[in-house]
């Protein structure tokens, strides 16, 4: 498993009645699953839900005690397909992933699941990676819920509310035989909060019970005529059942005064920021005591027509606060009101932006405009709202815009992927630029400075597949990069298998760093660690060969830049046909340091001989051209200004965060850069032989140095 321990978080999962949970939102969700009596959990890691997977992977004892099955799924499709356990059996199950990317992958299974319907409660927890800090395309999960008819929960960002909705969500799923999606945004997942715990619940029916008593019903399988029946069931039975349950259990909330000429309808997730915006306008206090009626949709699909109608009936206008586009809720509510001939005017995207985060600031503007249009009296004497524009318009701050540098994410200090891209850069200098398809993972940072390598990214594990059109004889070959995570997620078949079958001539680089590093260092099939609960150490090379790859090269030390470069050159120029696959393997440095650092400290403490390596730059040899940095971008390789009037430009410098990976030396050697780099080996607890050798050498060296120094002119006169 990842070199990080989640033992403390696992303790949180053991809390019971009377305890208070304090921690991250995503952990609260994990705990809520156990309180809901799930029989199985699966999923695929990725921000913002990685923590759920990490903690459950470390929580073997807790899960075993409860009889809960946990799987690290191969990908989101596998996770979604896992939910089929709830089709025939009254088993509660949950899966989690990053959305919308994970939902895209899972869609096939989800659509089948939603068509046949479920017996046991099923919950799909999607980390809605939307807005600032997101790492993916800006889309809404809402569309998936609607197209397959799965209920979509969007709870207020408060632990108590989220936990409660998960428990209710399982009931809702069972009552309506429909899978339920729980949408939590990035900040809500990473939000610190608290809730009053309940005891964990053992599943009433276990996976074992189901296996021992198999059931089948051809009516649940998606094949005509059952498929047509499913559609009718969705409309006639499941939807009404869901609506009934949501109303009876008051999953959606009304807040504020009963009466009012205007009101606000919102997704649950928008609640906190709406309250803050109202507070700025003097229409609420900090505790949510609002003067404007609010209708909070903790369930955003289905829309409960009767509730919407009731809320809008006596109002002149309502504002719909719905983040992202298209404006599904606004359309749905308009339809409701038109059908029922209710005259309340509907505002939404006319006063709020179509896309982007609905921050308190954005909402402040939107709500104010809404009220100015509909009920300006409410704005009263317009107390001053926070406003940074005078500061931002000040010339000194304006000037700052040109100064503050962009700070894109990059590869970590000592990252084993850096030398791969340095080698690609060197090959580019020799053989010219190539079409490079990038993939999802840490290696995607290659598209940013200093490497600027990679033309497209089409999804996780799809780097190789996205070169498939470039399968013609030409002067140059395409290059595809894919990580080990993407390889096992689907790249083995979609990328390598596809290239083998279609006799693709391109180059395929598989970056193997022993973990799915970008998502936090989870184990995968080819991880090198021994993991008692999983079968690791499955070779990528064997898999590639097994699927028909002929030209396969394994590099066991990516830091060997020269070899990396030569292998790439060979792959780009060899006459051999078919895909040229290079598997470049070295351990993720972040995880390696977590593993090795304590061991080294302990060894030094215990008096064992340890050689610690670090790189350095001779500042008087360095000419300050920064060519080395353009081939590296390592955080520990920086620049410093020398106190020398003869020098204009800062020289390269390596700070003490250097882990001695060797890339600097390898690159300056392979690229024939300059001789200013050196590796310093410090021997801790040296042996007597070490000491003796050094002493002898240094006494001769010292004598030579003094001899030469005596012959130099005394330059003090010029100091």
């Amino acid at each position: 498993m990842a070199e990080r321990s989640f033992a403390r978080e696992v303790e949180d999962l053991r809390l019971g009645n009377g305890d208070t949970f304090r921690g991250e939102g995503i952990l609260a969700i994990t705990k809520a699953l156990l309180q809901s009596g799930v029989a199985y959990v699966g999923g695929y890691q990725g921000s913002p839900i990685s923590h759920l997977m990490d903690v459950l992977a470390d929580a073997k004892d807790v899960l075993d005690d409860l009889g809960v099955v946990f799987q690290s799924s191969a990908n989101e499709a596998a996770a979604a397909a896992m939910l089929s356990a709830s089709v025939m059996y009254p088993l509660r199950g949950a899966v989690a992933w990053k959305s919308t990317v994970g939902t895209n992958v899972a869609s096939d299974a989800l659509a089948n699941l939603a068509s046949g319907g479920v017996t046991g409660g099923t919950m799909i927890i999607v980390g809605e990676d939307y807005g600032e800090g997101s790492s993916i395309m800006q889309e809404r999960t809402h569309a998936f819920a609607m197209k397959s008819q799965m209920w979509l929960l969007d709870p207020r960002p408060e632990h108590e509310c989220i936990v409660n909705l998960i428990e209710k969500g399982f009931e809702l799923s069972e009552v309506s035989n429909t899978p339920v999606m729980l949408e939590v945004r990035v900040r809500a997942c990473h939000m610190h909060g608290s809730f009053a715990c309940k005891d964990n619940v053992r599943p009433a029916h276990t996976i074992k019970d189901a296996l021992n008593n198999p059931k089948r019903d051809v009516g649940r399988i998606v094949l005509p005529p059952a498929a047509y029946e499913h559609e009718q069931e969705k409309i006639r039975t499941r939807m009404p059942a869901a609506i009934g349950f949501i109303r009876d259990n008051k999953l959606n909330e009304y807040m504020g005064p009963k009466q009012g000429k205007v009101g606000i309808i919102m997704q649950g997730g928008m609640y906190n920021n709406v309250i803050r915006a109202l507070q700025y306008l003097g229409l609420s206090d900090a505790y949510g005591n609002t003067q404007i009626p609010l209708y909070i949709m903790n369930v955003t699909y289905p829309v409960i027509d009767a509730e919407v109608a009731e809320f809008c009936l006596d109002k002149d206008a309502v504002l719909i606060v719905e983040e992202g586009q298209p404006e599904y809720l606004e359309q749905a509510i308009n339809t409701v009101l038109r059908r029922k001939d209710i005259q309340a005017r509907v505002h939404g995207k006319d006063v709020l932006p179509m896309g982007g985060d609905y921050t308190a600031q954005v909402l402040l503007g939107g709500v104010r405009e809404f009220l100015e249009k509909t009920e300006p009296r409410l704005l009263g004497n317009r107390p001053p709202a926070p406003d940074a524009t005078p500061v931002l318009n000040h010339p000194a701050v304006e000037k700052l815009k040109q100064v503050v540098p962009a700070r894109p994410p990059g590869l970590c200090t000592g990252c084993p992927e850096r030398p791969i891209f340095a080698a690609m850069k060197l090959v580019e200098e020799e053989l010219g630029q190539h079409h490079v398809s990038a993939d999802i993972g840490c290696h995607l940072f290659s598209i940013l400075p200093p490497f600027n390598i990679g033309a497209t990214t089409m999804g996780f594990g799809l780097g190789p597949a996205s070169t498939s059109a470039f399968n013609v004889k030409a002067d140059k070959r395409s290059i595809a990069v894919m990580g080990d995570g993407g390889f096992w997620h689907n790249g083995l078949t979609s990328g390598i298998g596809n290239a083998v079958f279609n006799k693709h001539d391109g180059v395929f680089v598989i970056v193997d760093n022993y973990y799915t590093s970008a998502t936090g260092g989870q184990d995968i099939l080819s991880s090198r660690a021994i993991n008692k609960r999983r079968k690791t150490n499955n070779s990528i090379v064997q898999a590639v060969k097994g699927i028909g790859g002929q030209w396969v090269r394994q590099l066991d030390r990516t830091y060997d830049v020269g070899k990396m470069r030569d292998t790439l050159k060979e792959a780009l120029t060899t006459k051999e046909e078919g895909p040229k696959v290079i598997v470049a393997s070295s351990e993720c440095m972040l995880n390696k340091q977590r593993r090795v650092k304590p061991q080294i400290s302990k060894a030094i403490k215990d008096g064992t001989r340890v050689v610690k390596e670090r790189f350095g730059v001779d500042e008087d040899v360095c000419t300050g051209d920064h060519a080395c940095i353009r081939l590296s971008g390592c955080p520990s390789l920086s620049v410093k200004q020398l106190d020398d009037p003869l020098r204009d430009d800062p020289v390269a410098a390596i700070d003490n965060s250097c882990v001695g990976c060797g890339n600097c030396g390898e690159v300056s050697e392979a690229a024939v850069l300059c001789p200013s780099f050196y590796r310093a080996d410090v021997i801790h607890n040296p042996t007597r032989w070490d000491m003796f050798k050094s002493k002898v050498a240094m006494s001769v060296i010292g004598w030579l140095q003094r001899r030469r120094d005596r012959r130099r002119p005394a330059l003090e006169a010029l100091a």
Partner: protein
């Protein structure tokens, strides 16, 4: 809007219309912002407050800019406050920046406003990739941040929190927590902060010490905005005990022949040149400088504070001390060099140091050391040269402080005697002469252009390919200057060309300026 609406009294919405205390921590991934956030949340919760923190680690976890946000407020009659998930511009009480440019970024985001915000920022720099990869000096101007802080912050607490943390064996988060306590913006006692840290277990002692140091530093009063004092670098210019009479003469000549404004630079230049070769070479330096100064005087340099001479003193020294194998070997074998590495590594007595150099000599470097005539003869025989290159041209890992390798470097480092007759010296001298000729010709008609041409020498640096690229940029720049030399604004164009050449390594920006020049010249 009707007039009466404006005059309407606004009744208070409830008992507590005030907002929670809001704290934004702006940092780079990996700076420990998460730990600091947890501490502040714990601190507030220990006082019975409701605290909420959010963050967006995402891809920013790796060196990217990121932001942590905390809101905290006491509950009211058992009711929890509704807390926002992101900071609102103009509504943040405390901004804590773990790096100076990040402080600037927080101002640009509108998080720092004069009516409300206490800005606690470390003024140390961690350079962004864009600042590091420029072939010239790409470092952003910290003064602009200082200026903006004065405008934007209500209270500012600015000092090198990072250095303070390192000095106390801890990380910046502990220093920031101490500065927060010292700032006194939260209604919590110093001891309650310490309680939070002490519960941290591992590393708590160093954290407490760092906390206390930062706390005292803030309490001690006005915080300076100046950059932290630079540590004096360990000098690697060797010196002997015996004063040299010839050197004394040179110093006297320097003081006598050169104008006052150029003296400082000339002294530094002379020092570098002598250190590179010998005292006689220093004499050569002064000879050339004297000629250039004469041209300066003729061009009316007095009115320009002899900028031409001063600039020449700088770049001539750099041109004369080209980076050859002898120089590198000499620098690597000096006593001061090892001392510097040992101090950088903070080595203690019981440890043993060895260093490995990454050398990649090519036949070009070897040829450069040969006598000029022989070198040229060899240069005219590409097949022989290729055969030799295959034997020389490969990476060599040199164990500096093993006797055989040290001796080899030592011998090479002592080959100064061969230098003046070498091919490299001949090439460098010819290049230098034509450069100085161009500058001298220019200075007579356009003083500033002469100075600019001298400064173009800055483009030549690096080794092997980088060096050739630098030379080619230098040549292209001088050729382009030639096109505009008769224009009045020639000096401006020269400066523009040089700045463009330093922007990127490929020379794209330079080509752009050259194209522009060609449209009118």
């Amino acid at each position: 809007m009707r007039d009466e609406t404006v005059r309407l009294a606004l009744p208070a919405a409830g008992e507590a219309t005030e907002r929670p205390i809001s704290i934004a921590i702006v940092a780079m991934g990996g700076q420990g912002g998460g730990v600091l956030t947890d501490w502040i949340v714990q601190l507030a919760e220990n006082h019975g407050w409701v605290a909420q923190s959010t963050s967006v680690p995402g891809v920013a976890q790796r060196t990217g800019a990121t932001i942590y946000y905390i809101e905290a407020m006491p509950p009211l009659d058992g009711r929890k406050p509704i807390l926002s998930l992101m900071p609102t511009p103009g509504d943040v009480d405390v901004v804590m920046a773990a790096e100076f440019m990040e402080a600037g970024r927080s101002i640009l985001r509108g998080l720092v406003t004069p009516d409300r915000t206490t800005l606690i920022a470390s003024n140390h720099r961690s350079f962004a990739i864009g600042e590091k990869i420029a072939p010239g000096n790409g470092i952003a101007d910290g003064g602009a941040v200082t200026g903006a802080i004065g405008i934007a912050a209500k209270t500012e607490i600015i000092f090198d929190l990072n250095a303070l943390a390192i000095a106390h064996g801890s990380v910046i988060s502990a220093a920031m927590f101490g500065a927060l306590a010292g700032a006194g913006v939260l209604p919590f006692s110093r001891d309650s902060y310490l309680d939070v840290i002490r519960k941290g277990g591992k590393g708590a002692k160093a954290s407490v010490e760092t906390f206390e140091a930062a706390f005292e530093r803030v309490k001690a009063g006005p915080t300076e905005l100046a950059a932290p004092a630079k540590a004096k670098p360990v000098d690697n210019i060797a010196s002997s005990a015996t004063p040299d009479p010839q050197l004394g003469e040179l110093v006297a000549r320097l003081n006598q022949e050169l104008p006052e404004p150029a003296l400082g630079m000339a002294r530094a230049g002379l020092r570098k040149v002598i250190d590179f070769q010998d005292v006689a070479y220093g004499g050569e330096y002064l000879d050339i400088l004297k000629t250039l100064h004469a041209a300066d005087r003729n061009a009316g340099g007095g009115a320009h504070a002899y900028a031409f001479t001063e600039t020449a003193a700088k770049y001539l020294a750099n041109a004369m001390t080209y980076d050859d194998v002898i120089r590198v070997a000499d620098l690597k074998t000096r006593a001061g060099r090892r001392a510097r590495i040992e101090s950088e590594l903070e080595m203690s007595n019981g440890q043993v140091l060895q260093t490995t150099e990454f050398m990649h000599p090519r036949m070009e470097e070897v040829m450069g050391m040969l006598p000029a005539g022989f070198g040229r003869w060899l240069g005219a025989r590409p097949r022989l040269l290729g055969w030799l290159d295959r034997r020389v041209n490969r990476g060599r890992r040199v164990r500096t402080y093993s006797l055989p390798w040290f001796l080899a470097l030592y011998v090479v480092g002592g080959m100064r005697g061969l230098r003046r007759r070498s091919l490299r010296h001949a090439v460098e001298t010819a290049h230098r002469d034509s450069w100085l000729k161009a500058a001298t010709e220019a200075v007579g008609t356009n003083y500033q252009l002469g100075v600019e041409i001298l400064q173009c020498r800055r483009l030549v640096k690096g080794y092997s390919d980088t060096h050739s690229r630098g030379l080619s940029k230098f040549d292209r720049t001088l050729a382009a200057i030639k096109l505009v030399e008769r224009r009045e604004d020639a000096a401006d164009w020269a400066r523009r060309l040089r700045e463009a050449a330093l922007k990127d390594s490929a020379g794209t920006a330079l080509d752009g300026v050259i194209q522009t020049i060609k449209t009118f010249a």
